[in-house]
């Protein structure tokens, strides 16, 4: 099989995925951005003035990387899952099965599309956040380790994009789909240390939090931004790779077993 046949199907589907969310940019990029701006305004600027962190850090500066990652994870997940659910409704998913795309190509293409949206939302949140920081603190805050920041955004986004793939392929109806979003993803993200440091929690809840995989992603990004983290950065890095392999294996398995039928 030549390279053309191997890569073109993947690139085609990736392009489709990216074009899809760009066509509805107001829903897919602008709305999440407004969402994070509101968080910045309410928690960062308004309430944040009364919050003193042990580290002496400005709360807005502490919050921003959490929100960047939250936007990235949410939107990576939302992109793949809504694309697939939409295709199930339209019958388009049957096309993926009939054409020469194989499960790996489908998984990688959909995940790449998802992480692209996640990164865009993350990056734009960073820009907006810097605006708030400038207004509050009087200067911009440059990321301490931009590469680490990017690494965790990218790997975290990929994990959630592929999670979106498996949940959407697995779901038998719309309710199952949204149940996973509101009962699993959302709590895990909120409790993963977006808004607070787990050091402030009582020991019991602190230990519970350590089982939340998202904690490591969020703290990875925070380390990239302000050089501080609730968890050792090496642990977070290793776990991110482990999780990536787990998420992708599950998605691959679900995809292989799935019948691509329309709803």
């Amino acid at each position: 099989m030549n390279a053309e046949l191997r890569f073109r199907p993947f690139f085609s589907l990736t392009r489709r995925e990216i074009k899809r969310f760009l066509k509805v940019i107001v829903q897919t990029i602008v709305a999440p951005l407004i969402n994070s701006s509101l968080y910045l305004l309410i928690f960062g600027v308004s309430l944040g003035r009364n919050i003193d962190l042990q580290s002496g850090q400005n709360y807005l500066v502490f919050l921003l990387p959490g929100l960047i990652m939250m936007g990235c994870l949410n939107n990576s997940f939302a992109n793949t899952s809504s694309s697939i659910v939409g295709s199930k409704f339209a019958g388009e998913l049957e096309d993926y099965k009939v054409v020469t795309l194989n499960p790996w190509q489908i998984l990688l293409a959909l995940s790449t599309g998802g992480v692209m949206r996640g990164l865009m939302v993350g990056f734009l949140t960073l820009l907006v956040g810097e605006g708030f920081i400038y207004y509050e603190v009087g200067h911009f805050v440059m990321p301490e380790n931009p590469l680490i920041l990017l690494y965790f955004l990218f790997v975290g986004g990929l994990c959630f994009a592929s999670l979106g793939v498996s949940v959407a392929f697995w779901a038998k109806n719309f309710d199952q789909m949204s149940a996973v979003g509101s009962f699993v993803i959302l709590p895990l993200i909120y409790l993963g240390g977006v808004f607070y440091s787990i050091d402030t929690l009582p020991p019991f809840w602190r230990s519970v939090s350590e089982f939340n995989p998202i904690l490591y992603f969020i703290n990875g990004v925070r380390y990239g931004f302000i050089g501080e983290s609730d968890v050792p950065i090496l642990t977070a890095t290793i776990l991110s790779v482990v999780m990536l392999s787990i998420f992708f294996s599950i998605s691959f398995f679900v995809l292989k077993k799935s019948n691509f039928k329309r709803w």
């Binding site: 690139f11 096309d95 054409v99 020469t100 329309r262």
Partner: protein, 303 residues
Amino acid sequence: MSSNLPLEVVDLTKKYGSFKAVDAVSFHINPGEIFGLLGPNGAGKTSIISTIVTLEEPTEGEVKVFGNNVRKSKHSKYELGFVPQEIINHGFFSVEEILQFHSGYYGVKNNQERIEYLLDKLGLFEHKDKKVKQLSGGMKRRLLIAKALVHKPKLLLLDEPTAGVDIELRESLWSFVSELRKEEGLSILLTTHYLEEAEQLCDRIGFLSRGRLIKTGPTKELIEGQTNRFMSIVLKPGTSVECSHDFFIEKKADVLTFKLPYQYPVGELLACTSLKLEQIQDIKIREGSLDDVFRQVVGGGVL
């Protein structure tokens, strides 16, 4: 090298739960042939096609495309073009974008020429910037056909491709298909509820009823074998003749009716009846149609 037939369906059974939608069906398609799969609603036509394109797994039996088992070899996918019975929507994408992506899925690059050729032939060129929901029903179906052809398949599966397409377009569609058949050596599996269309187009026909393939054969042979050819001779008013012939059935008013074998020369019959030419007002011959065959074979099932 058992065969290189475009399609071989061997002992195919498909169950949904305990319900047998397809029951031990076997047939094949010869190179360059149009094979018609006919049967009433729910007979199992779509189920068979779905197993060919791997949307469904066979419960038993196997499907081979150009000698390759479709479940084991990815190669067959390049050779298959599939027009599903149900319309596929593509959300925000335009007709042209849809065809570009679809070409890409098959690994075909720079396919613009082919895409424009198909758009042109299928009368979609002026609609290429529209989204699926902005197309009419017939246009949607033609888009499905264009999608199935972007990668120049060798075997085309058409599941009711002409449902909702007007007569003129249906005709231009079929002349396009026969063009492809000649130029690209396309073989075709067709399901349709327009029996006249099937009679004109299909080289061979298979009749499906409740999941079972109950009769297969060349279209012409089926019609000749299952139906009768009737000849009515209308006599000039006032002519009185007596007639006795093996093929004679009845005389009603001035009309004599004969039932004659398909190969039997009409002239020979006329000679036998000792009718004089000046006694004859008119001769009508009614040949059987696929419709008649269908009614006989499937037994009055509603189409």
